[in-house]
Amino acid sequence: MNDLTAPVADDPAEPVDEAAALRLRAYAGQCEMCGAKGEFVGTSLGARESFPCPTCRATLRYREQAGAILTWFGRGRFSFFTRFVRFPECQNLTILEAAIRGPFTRYLKGHPGYVQSYLFDDVAAGDSRDGVVCQNLEAMTFADASFDLVITSDVMEHVADVEAVVAEVARVLKPGGAHVFSIPLTFPLREHSQARARLVAGEIEHLMEPRYHRSGTDTPSLVFTDFGRDLVDLHARHGLRATFHRSHPFVKRLVHSAAVIAVRP
């Protein structure tokens, strides 16, 4: 049965190198971010950082987040984010995004309920720099039930205390609100999330070979957690219902690519 359900190489003799296998592979579709129709082509960066929109260049993981946001907040009425942004369904939301760049920062600029945050080393929590408020996601200064939508993109795997962040996100979300986030995921999903590193008395202790991603300020950022399907249980402990939102459930090889949406009932 697994032979049928696992992502299958078109040529079984082909070596299974995910990034190489996706290069120059394509599908015809519509961009969930900007609505452009066209051919989405893989590069050698792997699925998530690849398949850029031919028009807005948003990569797969950002477009998947847009698709999850449209599902939860769009009432079935919007097929792409930049259209959704102009309507009351979006304009009436209060939105926190923990990012200083990326497509959502661009398209939500000027939105009346949009707050951008980042953890600056040299700005006090709650103070702002260039319109971006300094926040530690493990202990935010926002009031309870402040936001309808929280967006983080490849942030959750870098926080030292993910349980604290989920608790904080649950606290600042309004009832009916949702945290839409991207994280690296490999399928089949591991049963249990795995700590790659942890903080002990303020010092980083590596439990596995350290892995770094590039941060929003281009500094290396340590990966603390490889997430598994117990992400659902982690959120349930804080009253959130988490779902892996697949944007391409029919496209072989992209079937497993997903954003996560965690909803506060």
């Binding site: 049928l4 029919f250 079937v255």
Partner: protein
């Protein structure tokens, strides 16, 4: 003049069936009828994607994976779509019903739960209170006489945290507000479940408000959004709100 540098042309992906996982050529996705060797057509695959999303947190990629996943309890299902997908993959605890007839006998001889289809009155679903995890419906909202009554009945039979999935088709865009047909005019008739039902309304997003009034939290889910802009289906996924303690 120099010749342009040769660049390799991108190769299109195959698609894969959300019922069984088997690949098929992408161009076939728009075809009517069965696409996959398992018998699933496009509407079946979209429905399957919605079931996986709603009932199983999006963890399994196919209904087969769902059926074989020991961590996901098999759903108690009332399937009113006349689609056999769930009969193939999750026959346990499945009741299939035909809501399109006029009270006459439906298909099946009553001996096999997976293939037997019982006639169903949408005003009185054949299930006890809070007894089901999934209720699946297709092409009912445009003709059913009383939409709020249907939502109330669906809410009655759903367990807390259970889901109803309404698969509805559209000519173009999902409108903001429902438009009721003129009751005095001769009704347009649209296909539904092998019959032609009178079009009493073209539904809009305000049906989600009617769901909310019945205790169902609804979203509009389009599993084919990123791959097929010319969607014809919207899946209204309604979750029975958790009982407040």
């Amino acid at each position: 003049m120099t010749a342009p540098a040769t660049t390799a042309a991108p190769v299109p992906f195959d698609y894969a069936c959300t019922v069984c996982g088997q690949p098929f050529p992408a161009v076939e996705f728009a075809a009517p009828g069965a696409i996959c060797g398992c018998g699933a057509g496009r509407r079946t695959m979209e429905l399957a994607a919605a079931v996986l999303h709603a009932h199983a947190h999006g963890i399994p990629a196919t209904l087969l994976e769902l059926a074989e996943d020991p961590a996901v309890p098999p759903p108690r299902v009332l399937d009113l779509t006349l689609d056999s997908a769930l009969a193939l993959t999750t026959p346990d605890r499945l009741v299939r019903g035909d809501p399109f007839g006029d009270g006459g006998p439906a298909a099946g001889d009553g001996t096999d739960a997976a293939t037997n289809v019982i006639p169903v009155d949408l005003a009185a679903l054949p299930a006890g209170d809070a007894s089901l995890d999934l209720v699946l419906l297709r092409d009912v909202l445009f003709w059913v006489p009383d939409v709020p009554a249907l939502f109330a009945e669906v809410a009655r039979v759903l367990a807390y945290g259970g889901h109803a999935i309404f698969q509805e088709s559209f000519a173009w865009q999902f409108p903001e507000a429902t438009v009721e047909a003129d009751p005095a005019a001769e009704p347009k008739r649209r296909p539904a479940g092998g019959t032609r039902k009178p079009e009493r309304r073209v539904i809009g997003a305000d049906v989600l408000d009617l769901m909310a009034a019945a205790g169902l939290d609804g979203v509009g889910y389009r599993p084919g959004l990123a791959v097929d802009p010319h969607y014809r289906d919207l899946l209204l996924v309604a979750r029975r709100a958790t009982r407040l303690s």
